[in-house]
């Protein structure tokens, strides 16, 4: 019975000891608990503070050395640019906010009147149903296509692309399935422009284009541009992009057995901006121009595509344009002539004065009656000039030419001309 007596005696001793030492009897166990909690909290606090400090330091180390803006002008431009971009997003939403905000404010002001917001809310839900037809920019709209076979395709479109004149995914899908991309009757042409053009070739196209995983196929990369970018080519009335033009000219350069050098589309803009400078001389670094017979310079003037060819065999610079801007661009082309003569031909080891470029002239190219097809005119002009032939196509041939360009870029082949 000793343990029972001990157990009974122990609390008494504790109480007595506590009473003797401290006035409060039950203080000891509480103090222990509080101390342990405090210590534990202290560890936690130190750990948290250490973690936060390390995060801040890492972010500071990342921000400060990476981008240290010197000019005050660029800093001042921050809010302006942000303010320009934001209202473009918010403007279509203004109509929503005008309708939706009173729903938020009314119940805050008049909470007891429960019946009134119940009346107003269905009035609000109706415009919410109608407004997605106005193309909201922020909401991703899946576009569902049902075909006769029972197959269903879902394409998710961000629909921000309309601002930059890109074709939206919806329009691509429509063109694939609603038969805009169609066979063109070429009885009169005798297949001069697009040899081997048949209805069977179009069905092969569609077999490649229409697959079950459309989204993965659209983002597949072909050289510079993805397949999605290539759809701009055969859709009518859509402007060409710099990626597509660069991709096609690179294809021309790669298939020419090292006789043609292709400059980027930003070269002429850089030469306009800086003149003959370090920037522009870097473009032809480590390139011996006289090894090539031609240099193709696809250029972009505001909203218009234009081709400039430097021909070393005829010692000319030829300018192809489907509209007429030759008179306004002539001084800039003279600058290009000076750039090539002084910068590159004069530095050749076997330099002779006769190898300089002498003439600047405008080549004969068919004129466009449209506002949308200038990119295709420049691409086909380059293709004709590569074969040393005068261009013999018209505005009427362009739906065929668009499909031909798409075929060439999709399969990385060049079709013969005539």
């Amino acid at each position: 019975m000793a343990p029972s007596t001990r157990s009974t005696n122990c609390p008494e001793q504790l109480t007595t000891m506590s009473d003797l030492s401290n006035p409060n009897g039950n203080a000891r166990p509480q103090r222990k608990c509080t101390r342990s909690k405090r210590i534990y909290e202290g560890y936690e606090m130190t750990k948290i503070t250490k973690r936060t400090t390390t995060k801040k330091r890492s972010s500071r180390q990342f921000k400060k050395p990476l981008l240290h803006v010197d000019t005050a002008s660029s800093e001042s431009e921050r809010p302006s640019n942000v303010c320009v971009t934001q209202p473009n997003v918010t403007q279509p939403n203004v109509t929503h906010s005008n309708v939706t905000q009173p729903n938020v404010t009314q119940p805050n002001v008049t909470q007891p009147n429960v019946t009134q917001p119940n009346v107003t809310q269905p009035n609000v839900t109706q415009p919410n149903v109608t407004q997605p037809n106005v193309t909201q920019p922020n909401i991703i709209q899946p576009y569902i296509i049902k075909r006769n076979n029972g197959e269903v395709y879902v394409i998710v479109s961000n629909s921000d692309n309309n601002a930059n004149n890109y074709p939206s995914d919806r329009r691509i899908a429509e063109s694939l399935f609603v038969n805009i991309f169609n066979h063109i009757n070429t009885v009169d042409y005798n297949n001069k422009i697009f040899p081997g053009y048949d209805l069977s070739l179009i069905t092969e196209f569609k077999r490649d284009l229409v697959r079950k995983n459309v989204n993965a196929f659209l983002n597949k990369k072909l050289g510079l541009c993805s397949v999605k970018d290539l759809y701009q080519v055969f859709l009518t009335d859509i402007w060409l992009n710099d990626l597509i033009v660069q991709h096609y000219f690179n294809l021309l350069g790669s298939k020419s057995n090292n006789t043609i050098y292709v400059l980027s589309t930003y070269f002429f803009l850089d030469l306009k901006r800086h003149g003959i400078d370090e920037f522009t001389e870097r473009y032809l670094k480590n390139v011996r121009l006289l090894n090539y017979s031609k240099v193709l310079v696809p250029t972009h003037l505001g909203n218009h595509w234009v081709l400039i060819v430097v021909d070393f065999s005829e010692k000319k610079i030829i300018y192809y344009d489907s509209l007429d801007y030759f008179a306004s661009l002539c001084p800039k082309i003279l600058m290009l002539k000076q750039y090539i003569n002084l910068g590159h031909i004069a530095k050749e080891p076997n330099y002779q004065y006769g190898s300089n470029i002498t003439d600047v002239c405008s080549g004969i190219s068919p004129k466009q009656t449209n506002v949308n097809d200038c990119g295709i005119f420049t691409c086909t002009n380059a293709r004709y000039n590569m074969c040393n032939k005068s261009s013999t196509f018209n505005q009427e041939d362009i739906p065929l030419l668009r499909q031909k360009l798409f075929y060439e870029m999709f399969y990385n082949e060049l079709l013969p001309i005539e």
């Binding site: 010197d70 971009t85 972009h300 097809d373």
Partner: protein, 88 residues
Amino acid sequence: MTEDKGEDATEYMNLKILGHDNSVTPFKIKKHALLIKCLKTYFKIIGLDRVSVIFSFDGHRIIKTDTPSSLEMKEGDVIEVFLRQIGG
């Protein structure tokens, strides 16, 4: 090779970005770091979309996998910014 890479990884390079409005922003980057990481922070400062802008170095369009060592950049080289071109 690994030792050489470890020595190079600690080296920083000073580069510049020349904007489409002739504004210059200098920045510092490791030799083997991806350039896209810097350029993303540049988008935030300037306030442009990534779709509407192209970076080029010596006429070469900068892609996701490019680093300063792969493009053979030197100290003080300039990356140029262009707006995308669309014509019709």
